[in-house]
């Protein structure tokens, strides 16, 4: 029986071999055997794609194949395609897929426009590592492995022999698929664990983000504190907050460049350079850090421009607020950092307001000096108003007393009610006005009033001194009340004391420039001997010649210089004027004037963009 069966088996093999030799059209599952057909031409040179086959295989390859083909630089021109259109469609079957490398297999699948299913439907190729290198990248690979594993796993030994005889099975195929299936399962389990971990991390991140946003919510809603924060920073904060809320953005490290003067200023508040320049945080924390740097910059500018003492209380408060805020920001405490950032903005606004208030006070003071008569008139009017108001109040009180005494209580109560209503309305108006005023304005006006109260007596004392020295002209003051130009006339008459008054006013003007820090040019530069010396040394010979006017004497240096007029002497005079003279501005050009030997010397100079100055011209004023 066994012998008979063996004979039949051998006959069948012979028949199949004959069939194989005669018919090359064995397809699909027969690939394993058909690939034994030799190919003499390499596939990249000879591509056989029939028109019909091409249509059948639409749509084209998987993305992996396409990408890999492009990576390997494999391309097929239209000409090549057309040339092979007329080739034998079955020549593809001569290619021995079993001996192809991974690259060639990729090229083969690409050229024949194999779909994912087409590629994975070759169970015999699963025995080859070159093929597996491709197949494992395809999404449906585990599905096909499972399918084949189940299919071949169910084969009985006898059926395996039968299938082998029909070239539908080969030795080790079931084992290979079982192994591949185990691999796939292991991968699937690993992937599942990874996904679960990722979900857990994402969930933790979301919870942290929610807690973070809850912390921030209250800070971002407090409009009272936020009103001091510049609008662009508010927008940036909200934008960063929205981004963090919607997609929990990871923290990143960012580097900032900080100027040396800011670094030194920050170091005095124990903020290290590293903490200034490097910030590791999310978008919101990065934004806060930017704000802190800007605040430091402003505080440093105020400190420098207002020439404040190193122990200035307000600047110290701002510096320490910024330091605490930056530390909180670094320790990822957004609510604390936000509060300190807001606080610092508020303090900066107040300090700037105080600066403006001082400026306003200085302007008022200089106005008082320049317009003494009007000032006296205003003071008189003020006293009159106060006296009138007191008298009116006293009269009203007496009237009410009389009304009550005469039994007209109802009328008295009605009038008192009206006054109370008026006071309440006034109070409401004041509150309303205060609510509409910015902190900056409140600070400015409060400072002005405070400075007025505290320093007016000093100003009055100065005025008193001036008036005492104006004894000779005191009698003529009354005549000036109706004069058209009291300032000019007053100044003309008070010739003996004018230079003092002028000096006071000039000093105040200079103080305004210094105090405000808003001058067009920096007073520090023009008053610095180094800058002035450098500017004088930079004067070109042509300009020196022009200033000296040796031929015409137009600049009249001989009025103040004894003996021969030399550049050295003129230079000394210019230096003196630049350092001690009073400044006046003519748009972007400036003039310094000083009385030397009873003559007015003018020096014209222009500020340069690089914080230097250029001396333009200089002369002794000769006539008006």
């Amino acid at each position: 029986m066994v012998i008979i069966y063996m004979k039949q088996y051998v006959t069948m093999i012979a028949l199949w071999s004959a069939l194989l030799a005669l018919s090359p059209n064995i397809k699909a599952e027969n690939t394993y055997f058909t690939t034994y057909a030799t190919h003499t031409v390499p596939p990249e040179k000879k591509v056989a794609v029939s028109h019909a086959y091409e249509i059948k295989k639409q749509p084209s390859n998987t993305p992996f194949i396409q990408e890999t083909v492009h990576e390997h630089g494999v391309s097929m021109s239209c000409a090549t395609k057309n040339r092979h259109m007329h080739s034998n469609p079955d020549k593809e079957l001569r290619y021995n897929l079993n001996s192809m490398s991974t690259e060639r297999l990729i090229w083969y699948f690409y050229a024949l426009r194999y779909t994912e299913e087409d590629i994975l439907s070759h169970p015999f190729l699963y025995l080859r590592s070159a093929y597996l290198a491709i197949a494992k990248h395809l999404p449906r690979y585990p599905e096909f492995v499972e399918k084949y594993c189940k299919q071949y796993g169910a084969y009985s030994r006898l059926f395996k022999i039968w299938e082998t005889m029909h070239f539908r099975y080969c030795k080790g195929l079931a084992k290979q698929f079982a192994q591949l299936y185990q691999e796939c399962e292991a991968q699937r389990r690993t992937k599942k664990i990874q996904e679960r971990k990722a979900r857990e991390i994402h969930s933790q991140k979301e919870q942290a983000c929610a807690a973070y946003c809850t912390q921030l919510d209250s800070c971002l809603r407090d409009e009272c504190i936020l009103d001091a924060v510049p609008h662009h920073h508010k927008t940036a904060r909200n934008s960063a907050y929205a981004q963090i809320k919607t997609a929990a953005v990871d923290r990143i490290t960012q580097k900032h460049s900080v100027p040396p003067d800011i670094t030194i200023f920050a170091q005095s508040y124990d903020i290290s350079e590293q903490h200034l320049t490097i910030i590791h945080g999310n978008l919101y924390e990065q934004q806060l850090h930017t704000e802190f740097l800007e605040q430091l910059n402003e505080a440093c500018a105020i400190f420098t421009n207002y020439a404040l003492q190193p122990s200035n209380l307000l600047i110290d408060v701002i510096g320490h607020s910024i330091a605490i805020g930056m530390e909180a920001n670094r320790l990822q405490q957004p609510n604390v950092a936000t509060i300190w950032a807001n606080c610092s903005w508020k303090l900066l606004e107040i300090v700037e307001g105080i600066g403006d208030g001082l400026l306003l006070f200085a302007e008022t003071s200089i106005d008082m000096i320049l317009h003494p008569i009007q000032t006296f008139q205003k003071v008189g009017h003020l006293f009159g108003t106060i006296a009138g108001t007191c008298a009116h109040a006293l009269g009203t009180a007496l009237r009410w007393h009389e009304m009550i005494e005469t039994g007209n209580c109802l009328m008295a109560i009605h009038e008192i009610d009206q006054v109370v209503d008026g006071i309440i309305t006034f109070g409401s108006l004041c509150t309303e006005k205060l609510s509409t005023m910015s902190t900056h304005d409140i600070a400015k006006h409060v400072t002005t009033i405070t400075a007025d109260i505290l320093l007016t007596h000093t100003i009055v004392r100065v005025c008193n001194t001036l008036c005492n020295r104006l004894e000779k002209t005191a009698a003529q003051i009354a005549e000036l009340l109706n004069c058209e130009d009291p300032v000019l006339e007053f100044a003309t008459l008070s010739t003996s004391n004018l230079s003092e008054a002028q000096k006071v006013s000039m000093l105040t003007e200079e103080t305004i420039q210094k105090t405000s820090g808003l001058g067009i040019f920096n007073a520090e530069i023009t008053n610095s001997i180094e800058h002035v010396t450098a500017a004088i040394n930079d004067i070109v010979p042509n300009r020196v010649h022009h200033i000296l006017t040796t031929t015409t004497g137009k600049h009249a240096w001989s009025r103040i210089i004894e003996g021969e007029v030399t550049w050295s002497k003129v230079k000394d005079a210019i230096t003196k004027v630049m350092l001690e003279g009073t400044t006046s501005a003519h748009k972007s050009v400036f003039k310094k004037s000083l009385i030397i030997k009873n003559e007015i010397v003018d020096v014209i100079f222009a500020p340069r963009p690089n914080n230097t100055i250029s001396i333009v011209d200089a002369w002794v004023r000769t006539q008006i």
């Binding site: 100044a491 003519h586 003018d602 011209d617």
Partner: protein, 150 residues
Amino acid sequence: MNSFMEYIKVGNYTAAKLYIENFSHQELHDFIVGLGFDTGSIALYTFVALLLIERESPYLHYCAAVLMGQALVYVDGAYSAAFFHAQRAMKLAPDDPSYKEYLLLYYYIPDRLLSYEKARRIAESLLIQDPQNSTAKQFFLDTVEQNKTN
């Protein structure tokens, strides 16, 4: 900057104009005046004059005035040229007090291009526009001071 001066030097004003086409008024002023101080080249004035011919504007007149009146002041007649441009700038922008302030400078120069009467009127108009104008106040104080010293 060097390339700009090269264009000016060889008279390639088209390229020079392209060089400064994106400059703001202030930038142009700083650039031209800065070059004037550094190089002392009168060709810069020609370039500004060309810009003025093409399109007259107060800021270009002011730029020309500062160039001649300050940067190139040692050139004979520079103050006169500058004074003309300063007047023209004020005329074209009568509401801008800064041009008036600048024009007042020509009252102080030894050549006294701006007469006392004109200067006083300018100073008065400045005070009408801004009662706190320091340049105008200074003018009146200077007048008195000068009377005293004389």
